[in-house]
């Protein structure tokens, strides 16, 4: 079995917790976000003969471009930057967090998760901006916490990418 620590970061109320809560085993309540600043969940994925256990550190969102607690990122195998597509500034916040993380942890596998795909008509994050990010080689996922679209795929991508990196 492979165990991986996966962090979820993003601005306040982008739907990180909603995104995972339908797909993970959870035992801690939301109040840990406001007290300790992190909530830990678990997701077991079977990829062929290998089973992967994702231990998901769901980090509290902070609305200002405030400092991320780098200790919580330590030892992570990767992270997901969660963005609320209907609020453009959450993308800026995510990119800022990304810079902070790269500065403190060095380069780590990550993916940009554009949440609230079900409200596509209200999106502030423009298609051209998304294309620009993709051109920079950033891995992007469109998800909906509401209808669950893309969430499973996102976790599976992360797990299988890690396995491939190991093999090479």
């Amino acid at each position: 079995m492979i165990q991986l620590k996966l962090c979820m970061v993003g601005a306040f109320a982008v739907g990180k917790s909603s995104l995972v809560q339908r797909y993970v085993q959870s035992m801690f309540s939301e109040k840990y976000h406001t007290t300790v600043g992190v909530k830990i969940d678990k997701k077991d994925i079977a990829l062929g003969a290998t089973s992967v256990r994702l231990v998901i550190w769901d980090l509290a969102g902070e609305d200002h471009f405030s400092a991320l607690r780098p200790t919580f990122m330590r030892g992570a195998a990767g992270y997901l930057l969660v963005v609320d597509g209907t609020r453009g500034h959450t993308l800026d916040a995510a990119l800022d967090l990304n810079r902070q993380i790269e500065a403190s942890q060095g380069p780590l596998p990550f993916a940009l998760v554009l949440n609230k795909e079900d409200l596509l008509d209200q999106w502030e994050v423009t298609a051209s901006r998304i294309e620009a990010l993709e051109r920079r080689g950033m891995k992007l996922f469109r998800c909906s916490a509401k209808n669950g679209a893309g969430v499973q795929a996102m976790f599976e991508y992360f797990a299988s990418a890690n396995l491939e990196a190991r093999a090479s």
Binding site: L4, K5, M27, Y32, K42, V55, T71, A76, A77, R166
Partner: protein
């Protein structure tokens, strides 16, 4: 000349042999002798055995001190020898073991009993003592299993869970738990524990090594030991002694040592830590509170149990005896057949009961019936027992007072005084009664016929006399008339009882003088006068018919009668059986 040359030369030359031998004995004679003696010892089996035997015990002892080679070599031989010996003749082995087996078995039993007693005492203590009640209350209040509460209260401490956590990632490398411990998902707990330690470290600016060592919450504490690559966290209930911390530190150090490479290169692959639980399990320590008291509760409980059982057995025995007495009583009671009786749990009597038999409760007594709370399942039947047949005859025939019934085999014998109507009915019905074939009524005296006859006779004899040419009732005649009335009533009643119809003719007469017409009228009015008087004095009207017949002819038996005697009124009673269908008759 060298020795070799000398030997070469000596072989072919026989003459020189004797000299050579002498030379040899001169040179190595002493050694030769001892060599020969040695060869004799080694070459001869007996001698060799003797010499080995002399040192065998010492040699065995020396070797046994060095290693267990002898034990290993002998074990299969002894085993086989023992088996063969038992196969061939077990008695010597039995005899040899006998003095050992007895005490061994006794000791084993004593120990088992002591253990059982102790366990029983604990169980009794845990279920009966006020402390146990308090624990039950606690368990109910806190929602924990009772066993858990007992454990918490009887242990000084117990290590419930151990987490081996990768220090950098917070991922769980190994987890063990004590039996019955309440465990949440260890992966998430491991992560959260790391996060909390990180949080405290960040918040209070302390280094990881100095970070949280102990987290305490009521009865529960988390003892954390931090190594360079891994963290060992023990969840402890109760008061962990210092020795436990030392033990945890040693374990963590040992794991760092044994898994040095795996820890430093950890990338999430759990394979190198597959057997880590065997390193952790020895740390699942616990210390129970000393329980040195005598198991008096167990003794008391056993005494109580014995006393209770004895009382129960005695009561049960008494109750069984009473129950069988009840059944015997019922079986002897006429009109009862007990087919089946049960006394396991409920008391039940199944069987037959003649409807005329006594009530079963009155047979066995109301008090006992109540005490046993008997369920009755009795079907009706007709008993042929004489007592019941007689009872049935009585119920059926309803004999009047003065009549006794007696059963003689299947013959019902009636005796006494009875009205005819009853007798007729009894004759008809008696043979129809189950158990009776013959009705013998020779002992019955029919009384009502006599009264009837007497009344008839009295009426027939009664005569009323009149003055010449008068239909007035003389005072002297009234007594006779008054006596007639009760006889008429007897006649009426008896007739009704015997289903007979009677008619009483009041016949008036006159004396010879006078015209016959006059005499006829006179006689008629005399009869009428009597009838009127009788009716006026309570005589039944229906019976009475007045008729005048005038003067009696001078011929016949009354021809010579005096005139005085001829002026009279007589009664004629005529009877005919009434139609039984006519109730008015």
């Amino acid at each position: 000349m060298s020795l070799a040359d000398a030997r070469v030369k000596s072989d072919p030359d026989d003459e020189t042999t004797g000299e050579w031998q002498r030379l040899r004995s001169l040179l190595v004679g002493a050694e030769q002798a001892s060599l020969n003696a040695l060869a004799a010892k080694v070459g001869n089996r007996d001698n060799l055995a003797r010499s080995v035997a002399s040192v065998l015990a010492e040699a065995t002892a020396i070797r046994a001190r060095q290693d267990d080679g002898i034990t290993r070599a002998l074990a299969p031989i002894i085993n086989e020898g023992l088996q063969q010996s038992v196969r061939e003749n077990p008695q010597p082995v039995v005899d040899a073991l006998y003095p050992i087996m007895g005490p061994a078995i006794r000791r084993s039993i004593a120990e088992a009993l002591a253990d059982m007693m102790q366990a029983f005492n604990r169980a009794v203590e845990q279920s009966l003592s006020p402390r146990a009640l308090k624990w039950r209350l606690d368990a109910w209040r806190t929602g924990q299993p009772y066993a858990q509460v007992v454990l918490l209260n009887t242990l000084v401490y117990r290590v419930e869970q151990l987490f081996l956590i990768h220090r950098e990632t917070g991922l769980l490398l190994g987890h063990v738990q004590a039996e019955n411990a309440l465990v949440q998902d260890p992966d998430m707990v491991s992560g959260m524990l790391t996060a909390i330690r990180d949080f405290v470290g960040d918040s209070f600016h302390v280094s990881q090594e100095d970070g949280v060592e102990t987290i305490r919450l009521g009865e529960l504490s988390v003892q954390v030991r931090v190594g360079p690559k891994a963290v060992l966290a023990a969840v402890v209930r109760g008061n962990a002694p210092q020795s436990l911390r030392t033990r945890l530190s040693e374990t963590l150090e040992r794991i760092h040592h044994s898994h040095a490479v795996a820890l430093s290169r950890f990338d999430g692959d759990m394979a190198p830590f597959a057997n880590i639980t065997s390193d952790l399990e020895p740390c699942l320590l616990a210390q129970a509170r000393e329980l040195t008291r005598k198991p008096w509760r167990a003794y008391a409980a056993i005494a109580l149990l014995v006393a209770g059982s004895a009382a129960w057995l005695i009561e049960r025995h008494e109750s069984a005896a009473q129950w069988s007495a009840i059944l015997t009583q019922l079986e002897h009671e006429p009109g009862f057949v007990v087919v089946e009786s049960g006394s396991d749990g409920a008391h039940i009597v199944r069987g037959l009961r003649d409807p005329l038999a006594r009530d079963p409760i009155s047979v066995i007594g109301a008090e006992r019936a109540r005490a046993f709370d008997i369920g009755w399942d009795l079907k009706p039947y007709l008993s042929m027992e004489p007592q019941l047949v007689l009872e049935r005859a009585r119920a059926n025939l309803k004999p009047p007072d003065g009549v006794t019934l007696r059963l003689d085999g299947s013959t019902l014998r009636a005796a006494g005084i009875a009205p005819e109507a009853w007798l007729r009915e009894a004759r008809r019905r008696a043979p129809l009664i189950t158990g009776i074939t013959t009705f013998d009524d020779r002992g019955i005296e029919v009384r009502d016929r006599e009264a009837l006859d007497r009344a008839r006779q009295a009426l027939n004899e009664a005569t009323l006399y009149f003055e010449p040419a008068s239909d007035a009732l003389a005072d002297s005649q009234l007594a006779t008339l008054d006596a007639v009335v009760p006889n008429l009533i007897v006649l009426r009643d008896a007739a009704a009882a015997a289903h007979m119809a009677y008619s009483v003719n009041i016949v008036g007469r006159a004396d010879a003088p006078g015209s016959s017409e006059f005499n006829l009228r006179l006689s008629q009015s005399r009869a009428e006068a009597v009838r009127r008087y009788l009716l006026g004095h309570g005589a039944p009207a229906k019976l009475l018919h007045a008729r005048g017949i005038g003067a009696v002819d001078a011929v016949g038996p009354q021809a010579n009668e005096a005139d005085d005697a001829q002026r009279r009124v007589n009664f004629e009673v005529t009877a005919a059986p009434a139609d039984p269908a006519d109730p008015s008759s």
